[in-house]
């Protein structure tokens, strides 16, 4: 399906360039409609603003450690737009844009980082989303299992799972691609190659020229896309999803992207990367080029963009306040969800704890 974009031949799919211009020579690629492009842009603005607000709140001491998404937004926005709303979406942890495409409340994103379990409550049959996975790459086998279950039931639903470049070194990556290849599972492995795993650069992570080419060793195709190009991300995912739905198995997509911010707010990226490198990537910012595109296509005006940004900020502020005022988890709930019903030995522990806390719930 991606014969013309074989990563082993040094090819990378780009459709929307840094100047916001579409490459119209690519006849075989599905493009975002005007409506979709505008939606992608609006969500990207909200993602950017909400993300910057979280970082700012961290500096104010109101938000604990937070991993910024800035610079990588096109990856999850383009790919989640390309699949159906009831396909399984298995997160790593830098997919805020994709969550917003699925209409997850922004307050829930903040709630997780504020330290409330309800931040991982994505009602299963409403969202088809798995929560953030903390042990790197350990979410990959879950997605393969979800895909297997859909294949078993013959639903034509698929799974997409996100991972970073660092995660490709973990055994789960190998095992999951291997299982998915053998099972011909309807799944898309999406690697957000943001060039660094905290401080460790991509070339220290693997001697492979690209991450995408690893797919061929598992018996399926891989493609490297410009991860800052929402059109390329969308197109590759759309094709891979159709491939999976037809029963043709998995695809590996490597989104070649860059984390403009720190790994988390506890990280200092100036220790391991040059300012020039960052400056170069700022020119390739996914938001800037999509903004150029929607303006050139007259899908939105400068004035409307200004309003959009103001609204996004209001939305982020309100969402954080909502999360910050969300009811703290109770003692009862701390015990309640360990098992479906509380075993007697745990009921006793709960009672003891209640007494120690002077009768709290």
């Amino acid at each position: 399906m991606f014969e013309n974009y074989d990563p082993r031949e040094g090819k990378r799919l780009q459709i929307l360039n840094e100047e916001g211009q579409l490459n119209t020579d690519l006849q075989d690629m599905p493009l975002l409609t005007n409506k979709q492009a505008l939606e992608a842009y609006k969500i990207m603005v909200l993602t950017r603003v909400a993300d910057e607000w979280a970082v700012s709140l961290n500096r104010q001491g109101r938000m604990p450690t937070y991993p910024p998404v800035k610079g990588q937004e096109a990856n999850s926005i383009g790919s989640i737009l390309a699949i159906k709303s009831d396909d399984w979406f298995v997160q790593a942890f830098r997919e805020l844009g994709g969550l917003l495409i699925r209409e997850v409340p922004l307050s829930q994103h903040y709630l997780y980082y504020l330290g409330n379990e309800m931040g991982s409550y994505y009602e299963r049959d409403k969202y088809h989303i798995l929560p953030i996975s903390v042990p790197i790459a350990s979410q990959l086998p879950h997605a393969v299992g979800l895909a297997y279950a859909e294949q078993y039931r013959g639903t034509k639903k698929i799974a997409i799972v996100f991972n970073g470049d660092g995660g490709t070194s973990v055994g789960d990556f190998h095992e999951s691609l291997n299982f998915a290849g053998v099972w011909k599972a309807p799944i898309i492995f999406y690697v957000q190659n943001n060039q660094y795993a905290i401080s460790v650069p991509r070339h220290s992570q693997t001697a492979s020229t690209t991450i995408a080419e690893k797919a061929f060793g598992y018996g399926f195709e891989g493609i490297q896309v410009d991860g800052n190009d929402v059109f390329a991300v969308y197109a590759a995912t759309k094709i891979a999803a159709a491939h999976a739905r037809k029963g043709n198995g998995p695809t590996l997509i490597e989104g070649f992207t860059y984390r403009l911010g720190a790994h988390t707010t506890a990280d200092d990226p100036t220790r391991y990367r040059e300012d020039d490198e960052v400056a170069d990537w700022i020119k390739r910012d996914p938001l800037i080029r999509l903004e150029k595109y929607v303006l050139q296509k007259k899908l939105i005006s400068e004035k409307q963009i200004e309003k959009l940004r103001q609204d996004a900020k209001k939305q982020a502020v309100a969402a954080f306040e909502e999360a910050d005022n969300f009811q703290k988890e109770s003692l009862d709930n701390t015990f309640r969800y360990t098992f479906k019903s509380l075993p007697p030995i745990m009921a006793e522990q709960l009672e003891q704890r209640r007494q120690l806390e002077g009768g709290s719930r």
Partner: protein, 327 residues
């Protein structure tokens, strides 16, 4: 009724439950075509097809991790880890996800899945094939650990485990896989998880054991009975959540306790039981609660296995000593 061994009862439980519930699937290494290295899954692929009973690539972590994905989607996977000694690569999945999924998603994603594995020594097996590490699993919040000791209980407990809405690690005493047969109903039945069984009532000492060690425990109780010593024998059956009430009630009656298991001593299941008894039946105790367990050694290779295993005579002698205790 049919006379089955433990291994045949495992197979019968799977056969019975897969017949009833199309969401039950079973997989693992050599589980499909071969029917498992111990034949626990024999004929399941023939009967239910390759979508429901199949071989996986050789990777325990992914076997457990993919099972969790299936469970989240609503299937009821029963996976086989070929030997409990090979479960360790799957710990990241078991501890990091399987045990936590219900809690961290406040109940919207759950893990109704069973991880089966043969455990225990005494079969002259290769390195890493003989350990009894149930305490490792029992220490993980959010995981149930079940160990049967008879064919009848194997079927009933395994069906309960499959129907349970939480993850269950089902450890099978491989030394007893083919040790004896017992009448087992052909239809489905369940035995509650979390309930111990009083195998033999007695008045002078409570003997608690489970799994593979139940054979020696039962023999010891019978030998002592011939000497006129009355042993109350309890088969724990569920390691977590263990049946505290049954043990405490028994010790209140007998005043003495011996807990026996094959696994290493320190921080083991017996330690938990004794701690419980010491607190909850303290004023009833007539002798120090005692444990007879494997040592904190690496499980020896077959040539020295006899230096590790607990014999019937060891239990008999220990109980005699406890009964002779004078404060």
């Amino acid at each position: 009724m049919q006379a089955l061994t433990i291994i045949a009862a495992v197979n019968d439980a799977l056969m019975t439950e897969m017949q009833i519930d199309p969401e039950v699937v079973t997989f693992g290494e050599d589980v499909g075509v071969e029917g498992g290295v111990f034949r626990a899954t024999v004929n399941l692929q023939k009967k239910f097809g390759k979508k429901r009973c199949f071989d996986t690539p050789l990777a325990e972590n992914a076997i457990v991790g993919t099972a969790l994905g299936m469970a989240i989607a609503g299937l009821r996977p029963v996976v086989e880890i070929q030997f409990s000694g090979f479960a360790y690569p799957a710990f990241n999945q078991i501890i990091g996800h399987v045990s936590r999924m219900r809690n961290r998603t406040r109940g919207t994603l759950t893990a109704p899945m069973v991880i089966r594995m043969p455990y225990s020594g005494g079969i002259r097996a290769l390195e890493m094939h003989s350990e009894s590490m149930e305490a490792l699993f029992a220490h993980i919040p959010g995981i149930k650990v079940v160990i049967p000791s008879t064919p009848y209980e194997t079927k009933g407990l395994l069906i309960s485990a499959i129907r349970d809405d939480d993850p269950v690690i089902f450890m099978e005493p491989k030394r007893l896989y083919r040790a004896f047969k017992q009448e087992v109903p052909e239809e489905a039945y369940t035995i509650p998880i979390g309930k111990a069984r009083i195998v033999q009532e007695g008045t002078q000492i409570t003997l608690v054991s489970y799994g593979s060690q139940m054979k020696e425990a039962r023999e010891a109780a019978q030998l002592l009975q011939q000497e006129g010593i009355s042993v109350e024998l309890i088969d724990l059956r569920t390691i977590y959540p263990y049946d505290k009430a049954t043990i405490v009630d028994s010790v209140k009656k007998t005043g003495r306790l011996l807990a026996v298991h094959e696994g290493p001593r320190s921080f083991g299941v017996a330690a938990e039981i004794i701690s419980t008894i010491t607190k909850d039946a303290f004023e009833y105790l007539e002798a120090p609660p005692t444990r007879l367990t494997g040592a904190d050694t690496i499980f020896p290779l077959p040539g020295a296995e006899h230096h590790y295993m607990i014999q019937t005579s060891h239990i008999v002698n220990t109980i005699r000593e406890i009964l002779q205790y004078q404060p």
